[in-house]
């Protein structure tokens, strides 16, 4: 097998682009919490870079992409990256070094647990978070990545399409957030005291960097410097633009065109196009983005009405955005964009929509149940949250002994 230098260069760059999304997420989330929890919230994303980088090379990669065991989990052949080097792995990317594929996928494994942190900010016990992240990555992320992307994985065998992680990343994170929020319970004073965002500028900065990083997330998932990568970049950009604009009108209708709302809409558009980016046309992406905004917007409303403190709406934005993206892939996918994919409902293949729906439901149920159990076990053993006084003081001081501003 020969390495293509163009493909390798692009995936190297895409790896760096996806890496920056995790610090970007730190700022996206950090801006939305109260000042006393700013460092803590930034850290929940940033420390994930360390934890997951190590988990991934030791065991995560081989569980996700090792030779399959009955389509359920990867074998341990690549434990500690044994035998993984410059030689390409033709199963996944025949023109780039195997080790580059590992590094690129590592960045996805990093950001996914960081996404969940939005559910439990401002009250999580830090050591509980560390343990949760390792368990969740090993018991939820790695298996689902194998089912969807691994050769022989059950959902891939079923014909489910997920170009860049709509189900592996966003549905798992979103519905795990929902489960975790139910276990940990609301913040002190939730619904009574207004938790005003400390810095919407941080959130805008984070969203901007996420948008840029997403070119690597979706464009890089072509695993080559080619027309498919370009299609993914253009569909990604289009969906983000459309969703941001529609969200602006929704919030305008309800009050004023909120900037926090606009950037939230942009991120939701990016989420929704993720599974579809390499299977749909730019015009389809416009519709996918435009429809994603009201779905997440009213999902947030529903969450607020339910009195559940899923604090930064990971479920509404990533879970529901990802679910819509998975279904939209079943509607809009066309083999004219990607001959390795399938046609969707609008291109004469209604079965694809059913496959997408079944695959999504399997991932939702699995992620929700396993996360619920992990969170319960941690709660019963070492505890999930700080005590009331520590929560009142804020996690920056009580958990880290630091404050964001002097």
């Amino acid at each position: 097998m020969t390495i293509d230098t163009g493909d390798t260069a692009w995936v190297l760059v895409a790896t760096a682009l996806v890496m920056i999304m995790t610090p970007a997420l730190a700022f996206f989330y950090g801006g939305m919490v109260r000042k006393k929890n700013l460092l803590s919230t930034l850290n929940l994303s940033v420390i994930t870079l360390s934890i997951m980088s190590i988990q991934w090379i030791l065991i995560g990669y081989t569980l996700a992409f090792g030779p399959t065991n009955s389509g359920l989990i990867g074998g341990l052949n690549f434990l500690g990256l044994t035998g993984v080097g410059a030689e390409p792995n033709a199963d996944y990317a025949a023109t780039i070094p195997h080790l580059l594929f590992v590094a690129y996928q590592m960045m996805f494994a990093i950001i996914t647990p960081a996404l969940i942190s939005g559910a439990f900010v401002e009250r999580i016990r830090f050591r509980a978070f560390l343990i949760f992240t390792i368990l969740w990555a090993t018991l939820v992320y790695d298996p689902v990545a194998h089912w969807v992307w691994g050769v022989g994985g059950i959902l891939r065998q079923m014909g489910a399409l997920d170009f860049a992680g709509g189900s592996v990343v966003h549905i798992t994170a979103g519905f795990s957030a929902l489960a975790f929020a139910r276990v940990i319970g609301p913040r002190k004073g939730f619904g009574r005291v207004v938790a005003e965002p400390t810095s919407i500028p941080f959130t805008v900065l984070g969203a901007g960097l996420l948008w840029m990083g997403w070119f690597g997330f979706n464009g890089g998932s072509a695993l080559g410097a080619n027309g498919l990568a370009v299609n993914a970049v253009v569909t990604t950009n289009t969906a983000a633009a459309a969703s941001g604009l529609v969200w602006m009108f929704l919030s305008w209708r309800d009050n004023k065109p909120s900037v926090l709302g606009i950037v939230t809409g942009m991120v939701v558009g990016l989420v929704a196009i993720t599974p579809a980016a390499g299977f749909v046309t730019p015009l389809s992406a416009l519709i996918i983005g435009a429809v994603a905004a009201p779905i997440s917007y009213y999902a947030i409303r529903l969450r607020q009405k339910s009195k559940l403190d899923e604090s930064l709406d990971v479920w509404a934005c990533h879970g529901m955005g990802g679910l819509w993206g998975a279904l939209a892939t079943g509607l809009f996918a066309t083999t004219t964009v990607n001959s390795a994919g399938f046609d969707g409902l609008f291109y004469g293949n209604p079965g694809q929509l059913a496959i997408q729906a079944v695959a999504a439901v399997i991932v939702i149920v699995f992620a929700f149940v396993v996360t619920f159990v992990i969170a319960k076990v941690i709660q019963r053993t070492i505890g999930l949250r700080v005590d009331e006084n520590e929560e009142e003081v804020g996690l920056d001081i009580s958990e880290h002994g630091e404050r964001a501003y002097a």
Binding site: E196, S258, L260, G261, T264, I300
Partner: protein, 139 residues
Amino acid sequence: MTKKIEAIIREERLHDVKDALRRIGIVGMNVVEVRGHGRQGGITLAGRTGTYQIDLLPRVQINIVLSDHNVEKTIKTIQDAAHTGGLGDGMIFVYPVEDVIRISTGERGHAALMYEGDIDTRRSNGVEAPNAKREVVGK
């Protein structure tokens, strides 16, 4: 006798109030950012979806220590410059001051409050307040 004026006004009126005070010769003051509410209660802000309420609103508090006989004129000046007529225009409080000490010279009482060109030196010179240059922003 010395008094302290504590005026809580809208942030956006601060520039005009400072300007008007300078014109009548009020030189020394300090300004504190405060949050609070009176009868207004609170305002509605735009969130990710819909709106949310905050009840403590940002205002600025101007502190001025001055001689008794300048109090009414100063109050009138602040009131005129800070007035919009809406809820939340703020309040002016007046307190007696026991003593004043200027740290650099050790002057006390009324002497510690005197500045070249201030409201009292103008009065004793028999000069009307000069038309202070208006600061025009953005023109």
